[in-house]
Amino acid sequence: MRTKKLPMRGVLAVAVGLIGLALAAPPAFANLYGVGWRNDGPVVNGSHANMYISGKGTADYASGGFIANVLWNGVQGSCCFQYWIEAGDTKGWQGQNIRTFYWARNVAGVANPYKEHRVTSVVPNVGTYMPVQLSYLGNSTWAAYFNYQVQSGPDGSTYLYNTTAGAKAVQVGLESTSSASYSAATTNSQLDYVNSAGSWVGHFPDWSALRADPPARSSWDVQWVTQRNSMN
């Protein structure tokens, strides 16, 4: 009997290990990234980055491409960024060669899971900084802030039942749909996050990964307070 139980324990251990691996699996990166990210740290119920607006060029804007500096926050308790809300500045918007701020989300439990919205009340100016913040407000509601003004409010609170709070996932940096696009050096500083108790924490959780898909570059500044990216 005992010898039979040991393999069972082994099987269970392997199963638990596999589940653990699955939960900590890397996100399915679809585009090119120069980012810092983590999806196995503490639950993140909000995040903030002071974004430097760098010069950018988008090679594939006419076909819908873009290059953007973005702050992502996992939502709905998902691992691996299946569900998220994001905000940032982009060059290239829905086939137009323009620069704009925007926010977007991909969530579960609604008829139209994917949405992207242009922000028009504030305008990105190259060479300046813009504080960008994502916050969980409670009652299944997230908000995106640009320069500390609410640009988006209740995000499907009527429909997003169980769209509670955040996830163990946060990321910041460049995203591009073409290796021929470019971005001058940009930084994301004052990387703060909101923990599960609803308190702001002084800097992002210790990072487990940097990602840089050539020609993008990504690095950390001193003590992980600032994250630097470029692509050219």
Partner: protein, 154 residues
């Protein structure tokens, strides 16, 4: 005779006045009707609406959607159908496209979103595309006013 001529002339003048009044009333009624229709519906459709819709359909992986329709509304009313709030509320055309879409140029991490209902808002004054949604609907556009078919280039 002169009295008869005067009488005929008076009757003719009366008839002319009567015809004139009827014609004027007819014009006024017609103009009022057009004005009411214009106030309740959309202005004539700018050519940029089908152009932007066609562009976004192609970007979302289906240049020949099964059908297309639009509603003239405001931006907040359009995005409010999904319970969202945005930072401006100008007049827009809410365009709803039906077909099978794979949005390869979507934002964010993960596989491209897919769906059968692609919604767009287009600024009614500038023609800028502002908002995009993708899923399996329904869009709820009919709650905002008369939904009209949109002809796209083939």
């Amino acid at each position: 005779m002169s009295l008869q001529k005067k009488h005929i002339a008076s009757v003719a003048a009366g008839l002319l006045v009567a015809f004139g009044l009827v014609a004027a009333l007819t014009r006024a009624t017609s103009a009022h009707g057009q004005g009411s229709a214009r106030a309740a519906g959309s202005p004539s459709l700018p050519p940029f609406v089908p152009a932007v819709a066609q562009r976004m359909a192609a970007i979302a992986g289906n240049a020949r959607p099964d059908s297309a329709e639009y509603v003239y509304t405001t931006r907040q009313a359009a995005v409010g159908l999904d319970g969202e709030v945005v930072d401006s509320n100008q007049p827009v055309y809410l365009v709803v496209l039906h077909g099978h879409f794979v949005y390869r140029y979507a934002r964010g991490i993960g596989p491209p979103p897919t769906g059968t209902v692609l919604t767009l808002t287009i600024d009614a004054a500038t023609g800028d595309s502002l908002d995009l949604g993708l899923g399996n609907g329904p869009s709820g556009a009919a709650r905002l006013g008369p939904v009209r078919p949109l002809a796209l280039g083939r």
